[in-house]
Amino acid sequence: MKLDPLIKLSHVERSYPLGKQQFFYVLRDINLEVEEGDFVSVMGPSGAGKSTLLHLLGMHDFGWTGEYYLDETAVHRLKPKERTQLRNEQIGFVFQNYNLLDDLTVYENLDIPLSYRRYSKSERTALVADTLDRFSIVAKKDLYPRQLSGGQQQLVSIARAIIAKPKLILADEPTGNLHSSQAEEIMKLFQRLNSEGTTIIQVTHSETNAAYGNRTIQLRDGWILK
């Protein structure tokens, strides 16, 4: 029996008004299924709608039309608060520019998603300690992001993304600011996480990085190329 996909988008569109009855479409008639355990790379030129699609999947954007199912939940029917809850339960984010909070230590940066998800103090302590250990960054726990290299920052960023055990990681150009050797390490890390069961969708310009995934989607002018 075939299981339902983790993500299912049907006729999803995103547009911005230009004037009376005029719209600029960023995403056009997107129909997409992502199975649990997939490692999908979204590619396309600038302005193709890659990041818009990622933020739509991450429920940061509410202005789209169509149907979006995440783990059998009809996202398009959820209220904003319910979407936030679903996002907190299911999704972790990795950004091109890491987006670590500058004024928090590595430990605190890992702790903060858990505190937003109302984990107890003891659970948070255990999970952060586990994650620090798993990513081999225990020695860095009291350092601030500015004291880390780019690769180390992205490492912390990925650790932060997976700490609350999401089913899905959305990564926006995760190696865009990294040296190629650091990029390779990060992509291997993604591959390992994927092999452990985490579904990953990354936006990338790099064919090399895309090769780490098991599927590639090409976007052009808001359309998915078949």
């Binding site: 984010f93 520019n97 909070l101 004024d103 903060i112 998603p113 937003y116 926006d172």
Partner: protein, 798 residues
């Protein structure tokens, strides 16, 4: 919550400049609020330090419209005491001139004569000895005295053996019965209390017209103020029927003792509290603007937090935690500053401000400061927090994103409008008070206060019992004073304007008989011939008194212009005869008319006034006035020896420049005006900084727009106009709202203004123009910066 707090601390530490500006601004605002609140709390709010103070009531007589509030006559008081049931205790008191001898240099004391239950009304127990008993409140048996604590310490070094000892007061022995608690009576700096012991002539029917007592009462536990008032009003009406000559038209007025004692300063203090509240709100608006700018800079951080799962509520909580932490730091600094602020306030405060001993930074005030700080943090933090927490994550996560500024821009504009409006309300209020004060200081008091010194004496009753003795003393004293170097004239009056008053009814010879209760009244002064020269009171017509107007000469009087105009409108008063109802029933011929003087202060209506020669009707209470050639300070040292040369046992009271006495009557208005001017000046400065900040920020935000405009051919003048017009709209809106608010709120200041309309168009116009000019100046710098934008640079930045 702890992590929010930790992060908030870290934010402050990371941005010390921002934190310092906010904390300093708040500290100044909270300092002013806390200091003024300390005064309001100590004077108006805190219960008096007596058992059940709300049951202590001040009672006065009233004869509207002539005397809205007046002293009580002894027979009326005794009838109240005997014939009412609402009072647990009722007591009367009046000031007494007391001279202390036999304890080193003679001293003039501040004494109070009280009826037996005076201390019972207050419910206080002496710290030493006992209170009076009714048997001691009898003429001839009342040579006992209760000492104030400071007096006991000062004169007797706190010696407990003073109880039972006799001390010489007014030349007679008085047995010391007790010592009051340290603070009791110190608002009026009382030294001694002695039993009233009404004399027989004070209790006759005729004496009902002699009003000189103050009355206080303690309500029975089961009686209400309304019941007590109703009961006394009924009694007053009965007395008016029984004694129409003296009591017709007289009623009663009463108020809780606290309300009564603060009635003159309540409006001023609440106005000042509202003013500092305005200053704090303006400061809040400025800080909110700073936070908004900062929220824009923190757009990325907020977006990351949202992406990581922070709810809006959680973000608002975190941002508010930071605001409240800032406010608490500002509050703590404000409380520290308030210690000095309060000292400064008390220096500026008029000497008539009651309960100054109760003004302190106590726990109640600190709780107020704490609550105010938290409230302030919420006020300036809530809007930036709500807007800051509402973020477009997708936009915010882009490199260099600044976030949407539409809503923040609107809020910034609204805050500027609010600042301008509040500042105008304050400026308008201060302007009205300043204009009123200027008018007040230009009022002619009717005498020349400069280069005149007043020396107060009270002749003891026993030693100077006879008028002849009193006149002999004053003649000898004035003769000595007159020849002192620098003295141009020396005269005296028994009642000095601005400090005491004698109000008596009078009759005019040849006019139809008038019932005593309907007699017109006049301020009355017993003066020596040189008094008019010493005071600088101008003779209008006729003559002044001279040395021939003595006890053996025909009785004469001098009246003022107001009395002449009101009662002799179509005839010449000179040569007419009048009879003033106090003292011997003697008709006096009017020999002169002098200029009006302001008996009750520059802002008060001029009353009719009558003078009689001191030699014909002397008193033991003396106010010697010395006109000098300007050497008042040098004079002070030689006045006491001059008095002692006449009578070595005669204590000298205060020696004070007349100018200072007049100045003290303006102290309340000056206090309010100075503080409001200071507060409005601060408000103006903060508002100007706020306008500057918003315009400067707006110019930075619009740099590329200006660049494009200039690239398209806009001249510098065009850009300048563009910036100034956008600022002008905000300022104009603020001025409009401020004007309407000032128009509505200034009515409450009506009672504080002298010959100044609470809606004075000149004041409103000037303050509006001033604020507009300051706002324009604040906008000019950013506007000029906008005109210097390099189009190429600006477009490259974009």
């Amino acid at each position: 919550m702890l992590s929010d707090l930790r992060y908030a601390f870290r934010q402050l530490y990371k941005n010390p400049g921002f934190a310092a500006v906010v904390i300093l601004t708040l500290a100044l605002g909270i300092d002013a609020c806390t200091a003024i609140f300390s005064v309001v709390d100590g004077v108006l709010l805190r219960p008096l330090d007596y058992p059940q103070p709300e049951r202590i009531i001040a009672i006065r007589e009233t004869n509207v419209p002539k005397f809205p509030e007046f002293s009580v006559s002894p027979p009326n008081y005794l009838d109240w005491d005997k014939q009412t049931k609402s009072w647990q205790y009722l007591a009367a008191y009046t000031g007494a001139q007391i001279n202390l001898t036999g304890q080193g240099e003679p001293q003039r004391l501040i004494g109070v004569k009280v009826t037996a239950h005076y201390f019972d009304v207050y419910g206080i127990q002496p710290v030493l000895g006992r209170r009076f008993v009714p048997e001691e409140d009898v003429d001839g048996k009342n040579h006992v005295v209760v000492l104030s604590y400071p007096f006991w310490q000062r004169v007797f070094g706190g010696n407990k053996k003073v109880i039972g000892r006799a001390i010489q007061l007014n030349g007679e022995p008085y047995t010391v019965l007790g010592v009051t608690p340290p603070q009791f009576g110190q608002a009026s700096k009382v030294d001694t209390w002695m039993p009233m012991g009404f004399k027989a002539d004070e209790l006759t029917t005729d004496a009902r017209g002699g009003h000189y007592l103050s009355v206080i009462g303690r309500l029975r536990p089961d009686a209400t103020l309304a019941q007590a008032r109703a009961e006394l009003e009924v009694l007053a009406a009965q007395l008016a029927r029984h004694y129409p000559d003296s009591n017709k038209g007289w009623g009663i007025t009463m108020a809780r003792i606290l309300d009564y004692s603060v009635r003159d300063v309540r409006a001023i203090l609440y106005t000042l509290l509202a003013a500092v509240g305005c200053v704090l709100l303006i400061a809040c608006a400025n800080i909110a603007n700073l936070l908004l700018a900062r929220a824009t800079a923190r757009h990325r951080e907020i977006s990351i937090r949202t992406a990581l799962g922070a709810s809006r509520l959680r973000l608002v909580r975190q941002l508010l935690t930071e605001s409240i932490l800032l406010a608490l730091a500002g509050g703590a600094a404000g409380v520290v500053l308030a210690r000095w602020g309060l000292d400064l306030l008390l220096v500026l405060a008029p000497s008539t401000l009651p309960r100054t001993n109760d003004i302190q930074l106590n726990s109640g005030v600190l709780i107020f400061a704490l609550c105010l700080s938290v409230l302030t943090g919420v006020i300036f933090g809530i809007a930036p927090a709500l807007l800051g927490a509402h973020t477009d994550v997708q936009e915010g996560l882009k490199q260099g994103a600044r976030g949407s500024t539409d809503a923040r821009g609107r809020l910034r504009g609204a805050l500027v409008i609010a600042e301008v409006a509040f500042a105008l309300v304050l400026l308008g209020g201060a302007g009205l008070l300043a204009r009123s004060f200027m008018r007040l200081t230009t009022v002619d008091p009717g005498f020349v206060p400069e280069h005149a010194t007043v020396l107060r004496l009270a002749l003891p009753e026993k030693k100077y019992e006879k008028p002849k003795q009193q006149v002999a003393f004053t003649d000898a004293l004035l003769a000595r004073l007159r020849v002192l170097p620098g003295v141009k004239a020396a005269g005296l009056t028994h009642s000095l304007p601005l400090t005491s008053d004698w109000v008596l009814g009078f009759k005019i010879a040849g006019r139809p008989e008038i019932p005593p209760s309907d007699l017109p009244s006049t301020n009355y002064y017993s003066v020596t011939p040189e008094y008019f020269r010493a005071m600088g009171i101008r003779l209008i017509r006729g003559r002044l008194f001279n040395e021939h107007d003595d006890a053996h000469a025909p009785r004469v009087a001098i009246i003022n212009e107001t009395l002449a105009r009101q009662f002799f409108p179509n005839e010449d008063p000179l040569g007419k005869r009048i009879l003033v109802t106090d003292g011997p029933d003697v008709w006096r011929q009017i020999v002169g008319i002098v200029a009006d003087i302001k008996q009750y202060g520059l802002g008060q209506a001029t009353t009719s006034q009558t003078y009689e020669p001191y030699a014909q009707y002397p008193f033991r209470s003396l106010n010697v006035v010395l006109r000098t050639n300007g050497s008042d300070a040098a004079l002070t040292g030689v006045l006491r020896p001059a008095v002692y040369a006449v009578d070595k046992d005669q204590p000298v009271g205060t020696i004070q420049p007349l100018e200072e006495i007049l100045g003290a009557t303006l102290a309340k208005q000056r206090f309010a005006m100075v503080l409001l001017l200071v507060f409005s000046g601060v408000a103006l400065l903060i508002a100007a900084v706020g306008i500057y900040g918003v315009m400067a920020y707006s110019v930075v935000q619009r740099t590329s727009e200006f660049g494009i405009r200039m690239a398209l051919g806009a001249q510098r003048g065009d850009v300048l106009r563009l910036v100034l017009s956008s600022a002008g709209k905000l300022v104009a809106a603020g001025l409009l709202i401020g004007l309407v608010t000032t128009f509505v709120t200034s009515r409450v200041m009506g009672s504080m203004l002298f010959q100044t309309n609470a809606h004075d168009p000149v004041t409103f116009s000037l303050t509006t123009l001033l604020l507009a000019a300051v706002a324009l100046a604040a906008c000019l710098l950013p506007a000029r910066r906008a005109t210097r934008v390099n189009p190429i640079e600006a477009l490259r930045t974009e």
